[in-house]
């Protein structure tokens, strides 16, 4: 081992510790008994782990409900955006038509729209929409599904495009020659083949919906039952004294699902990035 390798490895380990520390501190504090959190003698470990905070969070504050709401919104967005993005990706990779490049550029520009600024028009749009279709009005989970579908779609299409293009066209031609209809080729041949891409794309759609803070805060005004996690987290912030144990337990519950998803596709993600500079 030469010197630069040792130096680099040392820096890498230090950076790992610094980067992971906030996550570690969050989980640790979630398990610490309240007395230790209040204590002025802070220790980076605990000898008396407790589930008190989790029990309080899941029981008292209706948090289990918010967790399921977030999950329902995110999973609905994932399924819908996977199907819709797959079709659009097939259109832009497998066909040649007028305005194809224009359509692609529109998808790219759509990703740049400052989503937060659109809360103002979307608030009124959802309010008016609710008068016609109550299921997607203000205070409903449906409204959150709609906006997150719209915001995750351009990126999902952009990403799916690469995976669809990677499927050899010979496979479709063979299936067509064997007498398969267009629908069969699309859903029975291609769709299963891009499954790995769908998984990777889905993770991003999931995260977009799961991490949302601003729309949940803006659309869900009075229906407490329809609150989702990010906004519900703020319940634990009290003007006099913050309930840090509760906040950390709730934060842990919110972080773990994304962490699991992210690590699951980690390899695919890095592999995908590697290809981007080869030509």
């Amino acid at each position: 081992m030469n010197r630069s390798r040792v130096v680099a490895s040392t820096i890498a380990v230090i950076a790992t510790v610094v980067t992971l520390f906030p996550v570690y501190w969050m989980v640790l504090s979630a398990f610490k008994p309240p007395g230790e959190i209040q204590s002025l003698e802070v220790r980076p470990w605990t000898l008396h782990p407790t589930l008190d905070h989790f029990r309080r969070v899941l029981g008292g504050e209706n948090f289990a409900r918010y967790f399921l709401n977030s999950l329902a919104v995110a999973l609905t967005v994932v399924v819908l955006s996977a199907v819709v993005a797959f079709l659009a990706a097939v259109a832009v990779t497998r066909f040649r038509f007028r305005f194809r490049t224009t359509v692609l550029i529109m998808f790219l520009i759509a990703q740049m729209v400052p989503v937060e600024a659109l809360t103002i028009p979307l608030f009124f749009l959802v309010r008016d929409l609710g008068a016609v279709v109550p299921a997607v009005g203000l205070n409903t989970l449906g409204s959150l599904v709609l906006v997150h579908l719209a915001f995750s779609l351009p990126f999902a299409i952009w990403m799916m495009r690469g995976f669809v293009a990677a499927v050899p066209e010979a496979l479709e031609e063979a299936a067509t020659i064997d007498g398969a209809s267009r629908a069969v080729v699309l859903w029975r041949v291609m769709f299963p083949l891009v499954a790995p891409g769908l998984v990777a794309t889905s993770v991003f759609s999931f995260i977009t919906a799961w991490n949302d803070f601003i729309f949940a805060r803006t659309f869900i005004i009075s229906a407490k039952d329809h609150q989702t996690l990010p906004a519900a987290l703020l319940v634990f912030f009290k003007p006099d004294e913050n309930d840090w144990g509760g906040i950390m337990a709730a934060s842990t519950l919110m972080t773990v699902p994304v962490l699991v998803f992210f690590v699951a596709v980690q390899r695919r993600l890095v592999a995908g990035l590697g290809g981007s500079v080869k030509d």
């Binding site: 906030p22 504090s29 259109a91 719209a150 293009a165 990677a166 987290l233 980690q266 993600l269 590697g274």
Partner: protein
């Protein structure tokens, strides 16, 4: 970390092969579901944002039944004459610029470290970065708030600063929020640049080493020029993210800090619209932001084209 635009660039380069078939109406049929979602929920709101910005639209019009009144560019004139708008715009640009520089410096340095570190430390750092990347903005904010809490925060206890409030001073507060944002966003830069460095043929770096180039020179004279297209994309992506920062500022400074001292443009638009019920004025701020981001996006498109990406 919601819009990772460069991430898919990987598989998508293979999409460069020209599509073969002429499908008549079929491709449009396949695009129909996307259009059905994006036109009403993204395109129309953008149009509506512009429309709202030229109207006098406040609480009286929203719930009081007063007629909405077209006022032309009066909202924009109000912004132009509003010292607070300019100071918020200024500090948004300054804050975003600092964030971009910090994110890039940390991300690029660690990408180089990754290429030289032994296998286990490399794996550990990649996993740690994934964790920071995946952590939702809200929970990242709450954890950093806790670490810097005046009474029970770890930082104050370790430093022996009893009761020091990190969110009291404007620039110190910006610093803490900035650290949180960098923590969230450096992994994207690190992973992207690391992948880019990996793709540089080993022979090129060997040749540089044989010619007597130091590691420092090899980095600046060989790697950076070869990675230029990728670096451009990462920079522009970071500008876009950091310019429209919202959640961390909103959560950590409770909506913009003491007397709104930590307000950035996005938070300002939101507060103007939903806090003060000045929906028209808030929309005008949103339009200004959209235009600035659009300009950055056009630069991004140009960088993509130059980078050899075929659409």
């Amino acid at each position: 970390m919601t819009t990772l635009t460069t991430a898919p660039a990987g598989p998508s380069t293979r999409a460069g092969t020209p599509p073969r078939r002429r499908g008549g109406p079929r491709p449009w049929l396949y695009l129909l579901p996307s259009a059905a979602v994006l036109v009403p929920l993204l395109g129309y709101p953008v149009y509506m944002l512009g429309l709202l910005s030229v109207f006098d639209y406040r609480q009286a019009q929203v719930s009081g039944g007063e007629p909405t009144r077209f006022i032309g560019l009066a909202n924009y004139a109000a912004l132009a004459g509003d010292g607070r708008f300019w100071s918020v715009l200024g500090q948004t640009v300054a804050f975003a610029a600092a964030l971009v520089v910090a994110t890039l410096a940390v991300g690029a340095a660690l990408a180089v470290v990754l290429t030289r570190a032994a296998r286990v430390p490399r794996l550990l750092l990649s996993l740690a970065a994934m964790a920071a990347w995946a952590a939702p903005a809200v929970t990242g904010s709450t954890v950093w708030m806790f670490l810097f809490d005046a009474d029970l925060g770890l930082v104050n206890q370790v430093l022996g600063l009893d009761g020091f409030n990190w969110f009291y001073d404007k620039w110190v507060a910006f610093g803490i929020v900035g650290a949180t944002v960098v923590w969230h966003s450096f992994p994207f830069v690190m992973v992207t640049l690391y992948a880019g460095i990996q793709a540089i043929p080993a022979s090129v770096l060997e040749a540089a080493a044989l010619d007597g180039a130091s590691a420092w020179h090899a980095f600046w004279r060989v790697m950076v020029p070869m990675l230029r297209p990728l670096i451009t994309i990462v920079v522009i992506q970071s500008i876009i993210w950091d310019f429209k920062i919202f959640t961390q500022v909103y959560v950590m400074t409770s909506g913009g800090g003491i007397a709104g001292q930590n307000t950035v443009l996005n938070v300002y638009a939101y507060q103007t619209a939903f806090g003060s019920s000045e929906y028209g004025l808030g929309s005008a701020i949103g339009v200004v932001m959209t235009l600035i981001l659009l300009a950055v996006t056009l630069l991004y498109l140009r960088a993509l084209y130059r980078g050899g990406e075929k659409l």
